[in-house]
Each structure stands twice: as structure tokens, then as C-alpha cells.
């Protein structure tokens, strides 16, 4: 037997106190009366008395002492060890998105929790419980707790995820526990069917759920109308499905499609059920979002709508070239598309353009005294240092003979992205400049180990590209790769916040950090908020909830909002999935652990009985003395 609160034994001091009170109460009250004659005579008339009458005081004392002892016993909360009466349980509950399917009132996940609760409640006191939530990773909710209350409370608080389920991680966690205690009772609570299982009891929580989901939706604006189509899937049976469409948040009358959706298993491999909304007149020529919603209710609501957000590019595309001889750059940029380019001489820039704002500043053979802080900056052939440029000019090196460009061997994502389609084969130069960098720059091309073209960030955190040579001292501007290089560098300099607006739950979304970003806030569909590091050029975060994520970017004093939509994973939409195996390997034993018997209820009953008995004695005595 163990005592949970042994310090409470001090309350036994109440026993001597009660005895002291009893002794004090036993004292006879002395009193003088007119005559004791009748009192003495009354002895002869005293009939046979109830034997209890003379013992009420002692009985009351005994009962009160017993009650104090029992109360102290309850306070110290003894636990009586019952050898080999308890067992150890390990529950792995599938927390994947499919566990949110609902049949009637409860979801599969809730039914699974009910099953675990039932096993815990029926288990012997002292048993130990481990609960592992198996989502996209295995999370141990609690391990070997012997408190039913804690186990049930944490179980109650457990919520399902929307991602897939990492069966391997769940099995590994269970295996680890099994290796330590081969007698553990393993339970897997899931909606999947396993062809093979070993040392695990699988509790399947599947009911006859019917599910239809939208797989994708596309919208194209052309010729004054908007065309919307998408893909549906029915996972259980044939359904007639009606899809309603909302454009920019507003319902569009008559914009719906009703299609017969055969069950996926009856479709040819790789085939889906398409739906197409009749073309909708749309004069604005663009849209913000198109939302497609299945009108009918089914078991899983998380896949009943998809929102396609139009990829917006809010970056500034205005360019200023400050150069005494801008020909090469002008031609290359002009060849790449519709950029708003302003070309000025250094004198004109200092006179009239220094205070104007541009998305990209290209300084060729000219170094401003102060590096602009409101956009990306390219520095070409700069022979003096600008403040906050991230580098300083050191020297000029003239080569004895033309030397080729060496492509960087870096495998960094930025290098791969900027050198995509650029080799600079056959390009050479006869003179270059040496710089010292004090911010982060990635060399793209070098010669003799000296960076010739590098990309990175200046002291303002804005994207910066440095050409450590005069374009006129090289033939690179004449090569075909030059336009590709300038294109990649322009993409780098004018980053879109979003590369794409549609993801599946569990995927990593990429957020580009635009120039001058002060903060990037991500708000999940369920309202969780987190901030990304604006010092990083690229940020990634895992979308783990279905629905719309809102990305708020504060840049240059203004806040811009972008949205991406996260769809439930396709695997999670299938009501019944068959998996190969979920096994725990090893030879189980029948060892049992010591159980506990909590006599608290019995103690409380005894206290109540003794209290009642004491009360009856008290009332009897009171009646006798009335």
C-alpha cells in the first residue's frame, strides 16, 4: 500500500484533541440543590435502563476517533497494490484527414476516441496508457500514464489533423514500446483496412460513409467571359453532383453544373469526372477568386469546395537604368518583355531622379552616394563604394589575355534558379573589379576564384546583383545566355510573393520575401497565426489545414494581402483505404503489471456510516437529556 499524501498523517493529532475534549466533557458539574433526598430515593424507582445509556459517551468517542482516522486515511489517499492485476495499453489513433468523415453525429475520430475511452474505463486501476496520435508524424500525447483521469482528459482534448497518416511512424512508436514491454496491449484505431497485422488489435471506425469531392477548379478569363471547369470524384457510389460557383466571393446566377459522378473504382485508371460551368460574361478581364462548392452534403465536408485564387504579382516592375552607355542592358531588358524602363545619365539621375521610387535600380559605371532603399539594385562596373550596398570596391584587375567565365558549382537554390539556362560558354573578359562584400552574396560566375557576377542582399535587405566588370570589357552581352541571365536576374529582382496559390494539405508553401518587407504574417483557415522570417529570401511553411491561408505582407508602409488555398489530400477523401500491413514484431508475453485499488469510496462510505451512527448516538443522548 502506498500513500499519496503521507504528510496528511499529521491530521491524526486530532485524535488526542478529541480524547482531551471527551475527558473535559466527562467532568461532573457540581451543584447544590435543596435536597438530595428525592434524587437518592429515585434510585429505587429506576427501571432497568438501556445499556446504551451509560455508554453513549464512550461510543461517541470511539466513533469520533474512528471517523478522524478514516478522514486522515482518506486525506493521505492510500493506494493498495494488487499484484499482477493491471495491464499496459498502447493506443495509436489515426489522426489523418479521412478520420473527419462523419456518419450521423460523430466523426470517425470521435468514434475512435470513444473506443479508447471504453477500454481505459474498463481497464484495471493502475494500468498504464500510452496514446500516440498518428498524423503526418507520430506524436506521443502521453506515455505510460497510470492516471485514468489524465489519460481521458488528454484524449478528450485530442483533435484530428487534416494531413495523411504516417503509418510507418505510428508502427515505429508502437514497436519501440513493445520492445520495452512485450506484454503491452496494442490498439490501432483507424479507418484503414490492413491486409496484415501482427501483435496489434485494429479497431476500425469506418461506417458506410458516402463522399464526393472536388479535386480541382480552373478559371480562364478571355474574350470578355470567364470559363470555369474542374474535376470531381465520387469515392463510394454513383452520385449526382451539383457544383455552384462563386466569383470574387459572390454567387453567380445560373453558374452551376450538375454531373453524374460514377464511383472512382469503376472509372478507368487515371480518369476523373470533369465538370464545366457554361461561360460567364466577365468584362473586367480578371478575377480574384473562383470558388466551386458541391451543393449536396456528404460525409466529409472538407473536400466539398475548392477556391482558385488568381496569382497576383504586385511587385513593382518599373526599372531605372543610370548609365552613361546603357545599350547592352536596354536591349536585353527590352527583349524580355513589357517592363517600364527609364534610362538616364548619372548627371540626370542626381538632378531629377534620385528621389523617385522604382522597383529596380540599375547603376552602370556609376555609384550613387547612397544606395536606394526602396527597391532592388544592380551595380554594374562600380568603381567606388555606395553606402549600404553590401560591398566595397577594392581594386581593378587587368588581365593579360581574355579569360572565360566560370559557372559557380554552388547547389544553392538561388544559384540554381538564377543560372537556369545560363552557361556563358564562350564568354570572356579582359578586365574585372575586386570587391569585398559585407552582406550575403552568392557568386554566380567567377574568374580565378574572384566573383564576377553575384546576387544577394544589400544592407537594406533588398535584393542586389553585382557585375564586377564593365560589360564593354567582355563579350558576354553578345552571347545568347546574356538575355537568359538578365531574365533570371529580373525575376529575382521582381519576386512574386506567391509562386502558386493552390496546395494540398501537407505540402510546403513557398513565400518569396519582397523588397522592404517588414513582416509576413500567415493566418491559417482555423485562425492560427505565425510570422515568417523576412531576412530569408524564400520562406516555406507546411499547410496543414484545408481552406484559405491568408498571407499579409507589410512592405514600404503598406500591407498587401495574398491568399492560397489548401485542399484536403486526395488520399484522405477515400472512405475506405486498404493498406498492406501494420505490425509490431516480437513475441508478446503475458506479464502483467501491478494494479492499484483505490479504497477512497469505501472510506467515504465508512465515514458516512460512522457519521450517521455518531449522529444517531448524539440524537439519542440529546433525547435522553431533553
Amino acid at each position: 500500500m502506498s500513500l499519496m499524501y503521507p504528510l496528511c498523517l499529521l491530521a491524526l493529532l486530532g485524535v488526542p484533541v478529541v480524547i482531551l475534549i471527551y475527558i473535559l466533557k466527562r467532568q461532573y458539574t457540581e451543584q447544590t440543590v435543596n435536597s438530595t433526598y428525592i434524587w437518592t430515593l429515585s434510585e429505587k424507582f429506576l427501571k432497568r435502563r438501556n445499556p446504551l445509556s451509560g455508554l453513549t459517551g464512550v461510543i461517541s468517542l470511539i466513533l469520533q476517533i474512528l471517523m478522524i482516522i478514516l478522514i486522515v486515511f482518506a486525506l493521505v489517499h492510500p493506494l493498495i497494490k494488487l499484484e499482477g492485476r493491471a495491464e499496459e495499453y498502447c493506443f495509436v489513433i489515426d489522426s489523418s484527414g479521412s478520420m473527419n468523415m462523419k456518419d450521423g453525429e460523430d466523426t470517425r475520430f470521435e468514434r475512435g476516441k470513444d473506443e479508447i475511452e471504453k477500454i481505459i474505463n474498463e481497464s484495471a486501476k493502475g494500468s498504464q496508457y500510452t496514446l500516440i496520435s498518428m498524423g503526418d508524424s507520430a506524436t506521443t500525447v502521453y506515455e505510460r500514464t497510470s492516471s485514468k483521469e489524465i489519460a481521458l482528459k488528454l484524449l478528450d482534448e485530442l483533435k484530428p489533423a487534416y494531413s495523411g497518416s504516417d503509418l510507418q511512424a505510428g508502427a515505429s512508436a508502437m514497436q519501440e514500446l513493445f520492445n520495452e514491454t512485450p506484454s503491452v496491449n496494442n490498439y490501432l484505431i483507424t479507418d484503414k483496412i490492413f491486409n496484415l497485422r501482427e501483435n496489434v488489435e485494429i479497431i476500425n471506425v469506418v461506417k458506410d460513409e458516402n463522399n464526393v469531392g472536388i479535386t480541382s477548379v480552373n478559371a480562364v478569363c478571355e474574350n470578355g467571359e470567364i470559363k470555369i471547369n474542374g474535376i470531381l470524384n465520387s469515392y463510394k457510389m454513383q452520385n449526382t453532383v451539383t457544383v455552384d460557383v462563386y466569383i470574387d466571393g459572390a454567387p453567380v446566377p445560373q453558374a452551376s453544373a450538375t454531373v453524374m459522378c460514377p464511383p472512382l473504382k469503376e472509372m478507368p485508371a487515371g480518369m476523373d469526372t470533369p465538370f464545366e460551368i457554361p461561360p460567364i460574361p466577365w468584362k473586367s478581364g480578371t478575377y480574384v477568386s473562383v470558388r466551386a462548392v458541391i451543393r449536396e452534403e456528404d460525409a466529409l465536408k472538407d473536400d466539398n469546395e475548392v477556391i482558385a485564387y488568381n496569382k497576383e504579382n504586385n511587385s513593382q516592375s518599373s526599372i531605372i537604368i543610370v548609365s552613361p552607355s546603357p545599350l547592352f542592358l536596354e536591349v536585353a531588358i527590352d527583349a524580355l518583355g513589357d517592363y517600364n524602363v527609364t534610362t538616364v545619365t548619372p548627371a540626370e539621375y542626381e538632378l531629377s531622379y534620385e528621389d523617385k521610387s522604382y522597383g529596380l535600380y540599375i547603376f552602370d559605371s556609376y555609384a550613387p552616394t547612397k544606395t536606394p532603399d526602396d527597391g532592388a539594385v544592380w551595380m554594374v562596373n562600380v568603381t567606388s563604394s555606395s553606402s549600404n550596398s553590401g560591398f566595397t570596391y577594392r581594386s581593378s584587375v587587368e588581365l593579360e589575355e581574355p579569360t572565360g567565365f566560370e559557372r559557380t558549382k554552388s547547389t544553392s537554390s538561388i544559384a540554381k534558379k538564377l543560372l537556369d539556362g545560363v552557361n556563358a560558354n564562350g564568354a570572356y573578359l579582359i578586365k574585372y573589379l575586386r570587391y569585398s562584400t559585407y552582406t550575403s552574396y552568392t557568386p554566380l560566375f567567377t574568374t580565378n576564384g574572384v566573383p564576377l557576377i553575384m546576387a544577394g542582399e544589400n544592407s537594406y535587405g533588398n535584393r542586389s546583383v553585382v557585375f564586377a566588370f564593365d560589360l564593354h570589357d567582355s563579350n558576354i552581352a553578345m552571347t545568347g545566355d546574356f538575355v537568359n541571365l538578365i531574365g533570371n536576374l529580373l525575376d529575382y529582382s521582381f519576386p512574386s510573393v506567391l509562386d502558386k496559390t493552390s496546395y494540398f494539405v501537407g505540402e510546403s508553401a513557398i513565400i518569396n520575401t519582397v523588397a522592404n518587407s517588414k513582416s509576413i504574417k500567415i493566418t491559417s483557415p482555423l485562425g492560427d497565426v505565425k510570422y515568417l522570417d523576412t531576412a530569408q529570401t524564400l520562406n516555406e511553411f507546411v499547410v496543414n489545414e484545408p481552406g484559405t491561408y491568408t498571407i499579409s505582407v507589410v512592405s514600404g508602409g503598406t500591407e498587401s494581402e495574398y491568399k492560397i488555398y489548401s485542399e484536403l489530400g486526395l488520399d484522405e477523401r477515400t472512405p475506405t483505404r486498404v493498406e498492406d500491413a501494420f505490425s509490431v514484431y516480437g513475441t508478446p508475453t503475458n506479464d502483467r503489471i501491478d494494479g492499484e485499488f483505490d479504497p477512497l469510496i469505501i472510506i467515504f462510505i465508512l465515514i458516512a456510516v460512522i457519521f450517521a451512527a455518531d449522529w444517531m448516538v448524539y440524537m439519542y443522548e440529546k433525547r435522553q437529556l431533553r
Binding site: T32, V33, N34, Y37
Partner: protein
């Protein structure tokens, strides 16, 4: 400080009462009380043959005319009675409150007044131990009553009292009216001898038992160690509960019945006068009902 006060209205009401003597009236002096012997009162009693030497004024001449024989008319004699009131002046009569003592003194005063109103002589005694202490002796007439009755306030209640030992040796008189013993009779002392003695002296004995409310219905409960107010060596130690109180009441009833039965067997009167009872009730109801007064 006075132990009792007499309500004048009560006294004037008491004047309307008259005591009834059962025994032969044998007072020495003439008075208001009609004797069984023949005397000189106005109330006709009987005839007897005339004998020489008889008062010729009492010859009934009408009877002579009718029967031709001289008959002497006899009249009842009237004697003055001597009411003796004995008050138990032990400590038990006043311990824990003077209600019993006050009641005893009130009853004694009222009896005394009733007697003086009937032109009888009244003596009041306090019993202390074996002694009788005369408080008022031979009081006659209302004026004397007014003069002396305050002496009752001087009665001290202390020690114990032995009724028989005090009364028997004293001069109790013979056939001359009431002997009233006022006590709580809560004793195993031999008070019966006193009653016997008084009855044998042809006194009309009235035993008045004065009990306090606490004695009739004790409120004591719990563990008690009781000491006798007259004799501290007499103690009673018990946890007093309902059973004990029930036994107490039975014992009290036994004591009351015992003295009552003893009195009735000897032609004496017995009256239980709770200290809480009003004197008016005692005199106008209980004593009248008992036939002591009318």
C-alpha cells in the same frame, strides 16, 4: 429586606372565608368558635330536665305548659381557638431562590389572618433543628396581626429541621384548633410522629408541603454531582437523563402519596402547595375543596 408581602386585597378576601374544625372545640377562653359542649351562646342546642340549681332563666315555659314538666334549654358554648403554625425554617426551604420560603410565609400569614379574623389566638413557630422558635406568640385581633405579622420577615432559613423532635416536646394544646405544619417534607426524618402527636391532642392538623418548580419538574441534565443544601455529606452523582428524571418524578410522587396517605389515615389534612401556585388559589380553591375552609 422583606421575604414576603401580603396583598391587602387578598386579606380582605380571606376575611370572607371561615375555617372548619373537625375536632371538639376545647379552648380555655370564650371566643367565636362554637364548642361541642354546652355554654352560653345564643345558638340553641338541646333540652334537658330541669334540675334544682339550674338557671331558671333558661327554663322553657312553653314546654312546661305543654308537657307540664320543667325543661331547661341548653345552648352551645363558644370557645377561643389557638391556631399554631409551624414553619420548617431549614435551608432547603430557601436554597437557590426564596420562592419556597416566601410561599410558606405567605400561607402562614394568610392562615394567621384568617384565624385572627375569627377572633382566635395565633402562634407562629419556626422549626430550627430540634427547636421551635416562636416568631409570634398568642396574637389576637387584627391590630395585633398588623403589629406582629412583619416578624415573619425575620425568620431565618438555615440548617436542618427535625419536625417531630421540635413539635412533640412543645406545648401544642388540646382540641383548640388548627396545627398547621408548613414544610417541603423532603426528608426521611420521622415527621409522622409529630402528626400523630398533634392528632392525639385533638388538633386539626394541616400539613402543607411547599415544593419549588425545580423540585416538581427538575431541569437538571447531564453529568451532575449534587450536594444537599442542609448536609453537604449527602450527595448524588449521576448522569441525569430522561430515565433518571422519570425515576425522580416517581420517587417524588411516592413521597407525596406517602405523606398524603399518612395524613388521610389520621384525619389530618394534606395540601401540596407548589411555590408557583398563587395564595388565592390555595385558599379559595384547594383548601375550600379539601373542606378546611368554607
Amino acid at each position: 429586606m422583606s421575604k414576603f408581602t401580603i396583598n391587602e386585597e387578598l386579606l380582605s378576601e380571606i376575611e370572607s372565608l371561615a375555617s372548619i374544625l373537625k375536632n371538639n372545640v376545647a379552648g380555655m377562653f370564650g371566643g367565636n368558635r362554637q364548642s361541642k359542649s354546652f355554654g352560653s351562646s345564643c345558638e340553641f342546642a338541646d333540652y334537658r330536665d330541669y334540675m334544682p340549681g339550674d338557671d331558671i332563666n333558661r327554663i322553657d315555659w312553653n314546654a312546661y305548659a305543654r308537657f307540664d314538666k320543667l325543661y331547661e334549654k341548653l345552648y352551645y358554648d363558644e370557645r377561643q381557638m389557638h391556631t399554631k403554625i409551624y414553619i420548617d425554617a431549614s435551608r432547603s426551604m430557601c436554597h437557590g431562590g426564596e420562592e419556597k420560603a416566601e410561599q410558606a410565609l405567605k400561607i402562614a400569614a394568610c392562615f394567621a389572618y384568617l384565624s385572627v379574623c375569627e377572633m382566635e389566638k395565633v402562634s407562629i413557630y419556626a422549626i430550627h433543628g430540634n427547636e421551635l422558635e416562636e416568631i409570634i406568640g398568642g396574637m389576637v385581633g387584627k391590630e395585633s396581626f398588623v403589629t406582629y405579622i412583619n416578624k415573619l420577615n425575620d425568620v431565618e432559613f438555615f440548617g436542618d429541621s427535625h419536625i417531630s423532635e421540635a413539635i412533640i416536646p412543645s406545648s401544642v394544646g388540646r382540641g383548640d384548633g388548627f396545627s398547621i405544619v408548613i414544610s417541603d417534607f423532603l426528608t426521611d426524618e420521622n415527621y409522622e410522629s409529630a402528626i400523630d402527636h398533634l392528632v392525639s391532642k385533638k388538633k386539626d392538623v394541616v400539613c402543607i408541603q411547599v415544593l419549588s418548580q425545580d423540585e416538581i419538574n427538575p431541569q437538571l441534565r447531564g453529568k451532575m454531582h449534587l450536594f444537599d443544601s442542609e448536609d453537604a455529606s449527602k450527595t448524588y452523582r449521576k448522569k441525569i437523563d430522561n430515565d433518571i428524571v422519570k425515576a425522580y418524578k416517581e420517587a417524588l410522587r411516592f413521597v407525596i402519596e406517602r405523606i398524603k396517605g399518612y395524613c388521610e389515615a389520621r384525619g389530618a389534612y394534606y395540601l401540596l402547595a407548589p411555590a408557583s401556585a398563587s395564595v388565592t388559589d390555595i385558599f379559595f380553591n384547594r383548601l375550600v375543596d379539601m373542606g378546611v375552609l368554607k
